[in-house]
Amino acid sequence: MADFTSEFQRFIALCNEEYLIKYANKGIYNRSIKEMEKGMTISYEFGDDYVECALSDDSVCRLHADINRFSCSCPSDKICKHVIISIVYYAQNHLQAGAETAEELATYKPDFSWLLQLQPTHISKAFTPAQLEEVLFRLDYLEEMEIVETSFLTMTLRTQDISVSFDSESEIGKSMCTCKAKGNCLHKLEVILRYRAMHQLQDREQLQASVTDVSYETDVVAEAKSLIAEILGIGLAKLSQTICTRLELLAIAAHNGNLPRVEKDIRGIHGELNLFFQRHVKFSTEALLDRLSRVYLSLIAIEKIDHTEAKKQLLGSFKSKYHMVPQLSLYALGANPWETRSGYKGITYYFYSLSDQRIYTYTEARPVYYEGISFSFKDSYKGKVPWGELISMEELSHSQVILTQAKTNREQRLSSSEDTRLTIVPRDNIEELDLGKVLVGDWSSDWKDTAGDMFETALDSVFILKANKFNQVEFDQKTQQLLLTIEDEQCHSRQLSISYQGEFARNIRHLEQNKRLLELRDVYLLVQKIGDGLYPISIMQGKSLTSFKLDL
């Protein structure tokens, strides 16, 4: 029992104002102090591992040497003023009695090193795989974190305005987050990982491995390999059309066998072979051979590789996941309307992210192959932004904004999530921005493609060029393209083209006939590279921006 008394006294010494407010709230704490000032008295009776506190207002509560274990005769099931009063009263009136303990307590300093000693396996057990995935994605984004050590280790995520406090007891479950969510929330995980990263502990690889499902059907891989080998072995000249059915069946098996990329590739081969059997003009042996070789070699790689991250990349994923990131500071780069042969229409908006120097996109698109569904570029452009409906998409494509709680995926596509909030900030001059790798400075050599890796999916290649002037603007009747020749400071020139489309005829005519382009000097152009062609999206100078197809 003597042991319990000293344990209890140590616990009471820990219960300073900050500690109690954190566990209860400021209101209860203040009310408790006021009640005490009115002259409340309490008698304590020690049991084996508890103290019975009889308050002069006839309520009785029982305390243990742990803030989470208490009971009270009042109806409240949460921490109540009686519990707080019992703790504070004891601290004020009885603690000094054990002078030795008090001295010991004065030098007592809470120890938070357990946060650094945690094993990644413990962390992954305390959180769900979805939480781990989300936070690991978020760690790539900068977040200002304030750390304060008192009785608690309190870490505040500045942009999210969330604080998480840990006490010196080594349990993640006992930490408290201002988001008030039950159980272990995302913020707890985020601060733990950021804190550990600050102390040079890198958990990413181990945690990533624990959430990545890289199991797949080995039979399907072997079957896919042998089917490709069969196609190559027999040769196109003697290939029977039944191969198409077999490819389709294999694609289904790949889908069920957790092989998304193989499924897509097999369907791709199927598509190419269909073109071959139809003697279609779009068929190209080169494209087919490239696809067959890429798929076959990636199947060999899947079989050989052990590294989880690389394996995940090879297996691919069915759907690109969106994760929330704390904040994005975005500089609008213009908008581009498009229509695909497979029946989709949409507008893609481009933004330059000032903090991570990458291009983000937001796309609004509709399938138009169903009857009755139409998509008007103009209506969509004039429509409100999905994040708070403050401004129109057109205005957004000319401004500079901060998005908080934005959701984005690994391809830097933004989601129209309702949680995202938009704040408009004054637009900077494009000349003053550090455009990083997005600005292609060297025109003399060929551009390297962003997806250099053989198995990586080719992404939209979009970048900025700084042009000294326009040398020529003319419409080529043969190719039905408006050709713009631009020149940089070193007099290297490049040709940009805008393909003719009925819907944008007016814009193209305007560009062709109006000689203003030729008068412009030192402009920035957002350019999309498709194959060998360079297609301009917008033109920027100072704070102004014009999207070629939408603004003229």
């Binding site: 190559l232 072995g233 040769g235 042996t285 087919l288 051979l289 490239d290 076959y296 493609d449 080719a458």
Partner: protein
């Protein structure tokens, strides 16, 4: 530059011919063509490509000589060459 271009074209042509007739029909003539291509690759200082083509010849030879040889290794080696040539060409042309 033009010679190099025509060399890559020759190599691609041979690859596409084999795709049409099928690897199972790989024959002596293919071996001879490969030998020429390997010599050219060495001449143009493309030693890695030359070694890839050489490995392909070795596999081709084995396939022709062994009665029960399967075409798996030959196929794999053929695809290595195909993919290497494609990567060489990529900065110039690229299909999305």
């Amino acid at each position: 530059m033009e010679e190099l271009y025509s060399f890559t074209e020759n190599l691609t042509d041979w690859q596409e011919r084999l795709l049409l007739k099928g690897i199972h029909k790989f024959d002596r003539q293919d071996l001879q063509e490969l030998k020429k291509l390997q010599e050219l690759a060495t001449e143009y200082d493309m030693s890695f490509l030359a070694s890839l083509i050489e490995d392909l010849q070795v596999e081709g030879n084995r396939y022709l000589q062994e009665v029960k040889a399967d075409a798996e290794l030959l196929t794999q080696q053929y695809l290595y060459v195909v993919q290497y040539v494609n990567m060489m060409k990529k900065p110039m042309t690229r299909s999305l």
